[in-house]
Symmetry: C2
Subunit: 219 residues, 2 copies
């Protein structure tokens, strides 16, 4: 059975998946970019994004996790805030995501939103589809599009929380970054006991990040 997987979702030591005060200037919240510096420092990140890796980007456990995050994935689901900073109706917006003309997905991406939007085909095999009837519908469309491969669930925090509460996530890889943001959106919050269905199957760390993989138990 193809699985729904969350990978490389970074949280701070105090549990936040994004900093406080998200805005166009601070799409990850104030200080939130510090959650992702470890990934930017891996060769796999640059390979995936078509940007040159620097000499100090070294293989290792962090790189392994970044590489694994795209392996066997045939479609991606993400919340609207991960797609862009626009709130409410799309209006005349020509926003096509944070990732430029050739996004690093190279497969169909399903964006959860309350506001209809035509699909946006991009270079390199990525097409953004907009789903207005909820996570379960997005999941159904994504698995159909993935054609036997797994589906990756991106952020943000509220998208992951609602998927966990619905028991939809098969694997959740969290990257704990030892910084303190002091506020923002906590990942492990408002989960109403949903985490009782998950257990840790791997803990490993580099000097920058502790990686925890959780999987759904058989129950």
């Amino acid at each position: 059975m193809p699985a729904l997987r969350v990978h490389n979702f970074a949280i701070s030591l105090d549990g936040y998946g994004a900093g406080p005060g998200q805005s166009l200037d601070h799409p990850l919240g104030v200080g939130g970019q510090r959650l992702h510096e470890w990934a930017f420092a891996t060769p796999s990140f640059h390979r995936q994004h078509g940007s040159p890796a620097a000499d100090d980007h070294e293989p290792g456990v962090d790189d392994d996790f970044v590489a694994h995050g795209v392996a066997g994935i045939g479609a991606t689901i993400m919340g609207r805030n991960m797609f862009g900073p626009i709130r409410g109706d799309w209006g005349e917006s020509d926003w096509t995501g944070w990732w430029g003309d050739d996004p690093p997905f190279h497969h169909p991406v399903f964006v959860l939103t309350h506001h209809p939007h035509d699909p946006i085909p991009m270079a390199g095999g990525t097409t953004f589809h907009f789903v207005t009837d909820g996570i379960e519908s997005a999941l159904e469309q994504a698995f159909a599009a993935a054609d036997g491969k797994d589906v990756r669930l991106g952020g943000g925090v509220s998208t992951i929380q609602q998927s966990l509460r619905a028991g939809l996530v098969d694997e959740l890889h969290v990257a704990i970054v030892p910084v303190l943001l002091g506020g923002g959106e906590r990942l492990f919050d408002q989960l109403d006991g949903a985490m009782d269905r998950y257990e840790c199957v791997e803990l490993v760390s580099s000097a920058q990040v502790a990686h925890v993989r959780l999987a759904r138990t058989g129950q």
Copy 2:
């Protein structure tokens, strides 16, 4: 300068230093004992507590941290809930702590409480002193008693939070245990920006625990 140090303070993946529903039957809250199993499995824990270590208690990074937690420590400060389950006035209680006749401290221990209590001398060099005039007074007495050595700050969560808010903690070692408690007392909460003064100086993990050491910055 002697330092105030927190060691081996275990928190769950969702950030809790104790589970929900603390009581005499569940001094660490429901599920809270899972935060400490990694320490119980180290030879140093058993050496410190005078209990026999089992064959499967192995040295390693967890053991190193448990051993380091007592090195160079001349006095301990703890909150009343860490000393015992009694709330309100001490009454006729003959409670002498959770640790039996010969507690593992072997030095003066200062218990924060609103209710006066005579000192309790125990075997092996431990004496429990009860401090009713606040953390700063406890700190002054503990450093005097430690006679040039460092002071260890035990739990619980609220004792550490108030010490962090007051900028009193020099070193904070947190052990992240990849279990989900779903509720309880969060360590990194209600800190009012106090953590801006701290930075991560070490991250290392075993297969059971991720260890994060935070130290006060020069500012």
